[in-house]
């Protein structure tokens, strides 16, 4: 017993050492030989658990040759690697799938609910299996203890199982959660598993060889013994079970979490599959080669009540071969521990990725500063999950009493985890598979499995009452756990497999056909199903140096050579390397992404970096993020453009306004200077003459009267000027109210003519009025209009220089306007004066006729207020002014 303990501890230390060394070599990058196809093949042996090592013999001794089916199924899957495994591995590597739950969830649009369902299914299916391993080890230790007449007893067994579980948890946490590898590879664990695979095989072959040659005496004798065996002499097999078990073992080979982990996740090179395709069937062939001989000999030589599960141990022991027995024990120990370690890693990955992290991320969104936080949380979650999973296995072991119930659990577990098979296979081959279909299929399969296999496995009356067994659920005869739809007589396992898988598949197909997938689902579907069209042969393993260089080239293109090289060299120095290329560690990649995102945006930076480092095409998620960013940038630049156009327009408007203001200012200055000039002139005369009157001593009455008249005239002139100014300003400010009344145009003209009184002048103006004027009645401010006419006629009188001046006034209606032309026969206005003449203080000549030059300006204002205007008409016989105003002021346009 002590020898056993010593040997076991030595063996365990060896495993730790191997795992540690392997990790070290992997980290330093020199691990080419670690990743050989043989290591890969041996790691697949984790399929052969203690159930294989011990249980196969027991199975054979009890029920014949069915045990073979457990290995024929996986062999078929490996033979057919071209069909399924090749695609699975390619998909797994391309999309960085981390577990089977990840595969399913990722295929169906990164659905978290599917991930959760698959994870829960896996945990429920695997926990009993872990308990089975603990039981095997405990029983095998018990064998040795009993051989020394020192049985462990109930407490001893529980304690043994407990300490083994703790040891396994320790090993798994130590080597399974060292760091967060983006590929989820655990080099140390894989090497340890490979070593255990060799030990397993060697042990079983040794025991088998001993049995055949040591006990039976050769191959020929062995066959005789077999044929003469009471139990195993004749070929007996239940046909439906033969077929069903081959199917379910093949399905489980693909769907078991630990198998997916070593087949797909830990796969380093697709070409390893080629080797494994024949090497793994060879391995299981060798493992099952000696099962029947051992069973036969055990049944013959060992007492009748002996547990056939432990023949592999008890046979050598009973024959005195203690060393062989210890070797055999190590084999069984290896089988059990390798299964538990890999299963714990796979399950903890699923639990942390699909259950814990989504919840944690949702609640800790704001506190998430760096991904360093996330990594720590993930690792912690994994470690806790491993502990919990092993604890659950231990609890199950305790509760089940370690009896025969556990042995059948193996197949129950297979059937349970296989419920994801339709969704998985459908997902990788059929683009029409949808998330709803997968959920429907898996849930239905899961429910049927629970009802027909899992719950009944606890025994009648434990979970399901016996009335459910015999009368059916809710008393419905068609819902009996072992006879659904009333079909009786089927073996319970076959019955469960049949109903759960077929209804699962039917539901999956029908619901997929009826539902419409989301865009994410469709994209993922295309990527998964057509994976061979989108990817080429995989990158070789020695990509690390090449990756760093590629990263440098890309960074140079974006950041510029100097900045990129500085960044890389700094990172390399911090990593303790003296070259200019750092190792593409997660920290460095993060830093690089941060630098790049300043230039190209975070999503683009991430996509570019992961393309180079991952060696895989960019994920749909990344692409959508890049598209979002680009759209945002486009939108931003659009708004910038609009804004800059507006700014331009505003600047233009401002400059125009500035020009106008400058002009107005100039005008104002001119106006002020004009006014002061105009006012000063009469004031000067008034002052001068009043001084003369005051100072003159003797003056004749005639002289006094003359001077007084001059003063009087000048004041009148001043007054007129001021009146005009006031008038004009009032008109310009728009504060004047029109005094509307009705009248005849001809009358107004007559009035105007009379006021001007041309007859008093030396060259009287002959005024010819168009008779049309009599016909026009207007409703407007008649006084103002008269003012306009007076102004024009007076101007004509003043400035017409013909010998016999004639002024013709033409009138016509023009829509709602009256149009009048005042044409004289003089010289007309020179061209440069034509526009200017309507401005304030513009006069022709110097001081001619004593006007201030405001007349036409006032006319313009008045006529504008009356809805019309005034203008000069060129090319008439003389000066021609056209006047327009509304006929009816109340009906303005």
């Amino acid at each position: 017993m002590n020898v056993l303990i010593a040997v076991s501890l030595a063996y365990v230390s060896l495993l730790f050492l191997v795992a540690f060394l392997a990790e070290r070599r992997a980290n330093s990058g020199k691990s080419k030989w670690l990743r050989s196809p043989w290591v890969y093949t041996l790691s697949l042996s984790v399929y052969c658990t203690a159930w294989t090592f011990y249980g196969a013999v027991g199975y054979a001794a009890r029920s014949g040759f069915e045990f073979l089916t457990i290995y024929l199924g996986p062999s078929l899957v490996m033979f057919g690697w071209w069909w399924i495994l090749r695609k699975l591995v390619r998909i797994g590597r391309t999309h960085r799938v981390t577990s089977i739950a990840d595969l399913i969830s990722s295929r169906f649009g990164k659905s978290n609910s599917l991930g959760v369902i698959a994870t829960i299914l896996a945990v429920i299916g695997t926990t009993p299996y872990i308990a089975l391993q603990l039981q095997s080890v405990t029983l095998s230790i018990e064998v040795f203890a009993q051989a020394e007449a020192d049985p462990l007893g109930y407490v001893g067994q529980r304690a043994t199982a407990f300490w083994i579980a703790c040891g396994l948890a320790f090993f798994t946490i130590l080597f399974g959660t060292r760091n967060l590898d983006a590929n989820e590879r655990h080099d140390g664990v894989v090497i340890a598993i490979a070593v255990e695979a060799v030990v397993k095989l060697f042990a079983l072959l040794a025991v088998g060889a001993f049995v055949v040659w040591g006990i039976a005496g050769g191959i020929g004798d062995m066959f005789n013994e077999i044929d003469q065996s009471r139990v195993l002499g004749h070929w007996r097999v239940n046909n439906s079970r033969w077929a069903a078990l081959i199917f379910i073992s093949a399905a489980a080979f693909l769907c078991l979490p630990r198998m997916f982990q070593v087949l797909v996740v830990e796969n380093d090179d697709e070409r390893h599959l080629q080797t494994a395709s024949w090497a793994f069937p060879l391995y299981v062939l060798l493992m099952s080669l000696f099962v029947v001989p051992i069973a036969v000999i055990g049944l013959k030589f060992l007492p009748d009540g002996a547990n056939p599960d432990l023949f592999v141990l008890t046979l050598p022991l009973s024959m005195g071969q203690t060393e062989l027995a210890i070797l055999s024990f190590l084999g069984g120990f290896s089988s059990a521990t390798s299964m538990v370690v890999v299963a714990a890693i796979a399950l903890s990955t699923m639990v942390s990725n699909h259950i814990v992290m989504p919840i944690w991320l949702r609640f800790a969104q704001d506190q998430l500063s760096m991904s360093g936080d996330v990594r720590r949380v993930v690792l912690l979650t994994r470690r806790i999950s491993i502990g919990i999973i092993l604890w659950l296995g231990y609890v199950y072991f305790q509760l089940s009493g370690g009896g025969a119930a556990l042995a059948s659990i193996g197949l129950v577990s297979f059937t349970g985890v296989s419920q994801v098979l339709p969704a998985m296979i459908g997902g990788i081959f059929w683009r029409g598979a949808t998330r709803s279909g997968a959920i429907a299929g898996i849930l239905i399969g899961f429910a049927l499995w629970l009802f027909t296999l899992f719950l009944p496995s606890f025994g009648e009356g434990v979970v399901l009452s016996s009335s459910v067994f015999h009368q059916g659920l809710l008393g419905i005869g068609w819902l009996r756990p072992y006879a659904l739809l009333g079909i009786e007589g089927l073996d319970p396992l076959v019955h469960a497999i049949w109903w759960s898988i077929s209804l699962n598949t039917i539901a999956f197909v029908i619901v997929s056909l009826m539902t419409f997938p989301s865009p994410q689902e469709r994209l993922q579907g295309a990527q998964f199903v057509d994976v061979f069209r989108h990817t080429g042969a995989p990158r070789s393993w020695s990509g690390r140096a090449a990756q760093a260089e590629d990263l440098l080239i890309m960074a140079q293109r974006i950041l510029g050579p100097k900045e990129a090289q500085t960044l890389f060299r700094g990172a390399a120095r911090r990593q303790g390397r003296d070259s200019y290329l750092p190792d593409p560690s997660p920290d460095f990649l993060q830093e690089l992404e941060r630098h790049l995102s300043g230039s190209v945006g975070a999503a683009t930076a991430h996509a570019m970096v992961s393309q180079i480092v991952g060696g895989a095409s960019v994920s749909v998620q990344d692409l959508m993020a890049v598209a979002d960013e680009t759209a945002q940038m486009l939108e931003y630049s659009n708004t910038l453009e609009v804004q800059s156009k507006e700014l331009e327009r505003t600047a233009n408007q401002l400059s125009e306004a500035n020009i106008k203001l400058t002009r107005l200012s100039v005008q104002k200055d001119a106006f002020l200077s004009q006014i002061s000039h105009e006012l000063r002139t009469p004031m000067t005369s008034i002052r001068a003459f009043s001084e003369i009157l005051r100072d003159a001593e003797e003056m004749s009455l005639e002289q006094k009267s003359r001077y007084a008249s001059i003063i009087h005239d000048e004041t009148i002139r001043l007054t007129r000027l001021l009146d005009d100014l006031l008038d004009l300003s009032v008109l310009e400010n728009g504060q004047v109210n029109l005094n509307l009344s009705r009248g005849n145009l001809a009358d107004i003209l007559e009035r105007a003519v009379t006021t001007v009184n041309p007859l008093q002048h030396e060259r009287p103006l002959d005024i010819v009025i168009d008779p049309m004027a009599k016909k026009i009645d207007i409703h407007s401010d008649l006084d103002r209009l008269a003012q306009v006419f007076i102004n024009l006629i007076a101007n004509a009188q003043k400035y017409c220089d013909a010998p016999t001046p004639v002024l013709r006034i033409d009138t016509r209606k023009f829509g709602s306007l009256v149009q009048m032309d005042f044409i004289d026969n003089g010289k007309g206005l020179p061209e440069e004066a034509r526009d200017v003449v309507f401005e304030k203080f513009s006069r022709l000549g110097e001081n001619k006729a004593g006007g201030a030059g405001l007349g036409l300006a006032i006319c313009r204002e008045i006529l504008t207020r009356c809805g019309g205007g005034i203008g000069y008409v060129p090319a008439q016989q003389g000066a021609a002014f056209r006047v327009e105003f509304l006929i009816d002021q109340t009906q303005s346009r």
Binding site: L76, F79, G80, W235, R236, Q274, W278, P281, G536
Partner: protein, 104 residues
Amino acid sequence: MNERQGPIFLDQTGYRGRRMIDALKILPVLALFLWAIPMLWVSEEGNQQTSVALIYLFSVWAGMIILVRILSRRAANMPLDDLALMRRYSGQSSTALEDGKGEP
């Protein structure tokens, strides 16, 4: 141009390779068929001796392993996927490093 006496069919290696891949694809079906035969052995007493049955099963098993080994060897020179296949037959080299592009 009929001076060549040899076979007229060109690209024999490529054709062979593809047929090897076909054989590889059909192999599991064959294995399944052979392993389903035990179901035909009626399970009455004294009908089938275990030793014969075991020899049969294990021989099929070993035979399949050898066949897969040979075919995988032959197919090892063939590219594993459509993309590299197309590249190979369009004259480009198929190295381990790929550029991730789609069909040419």
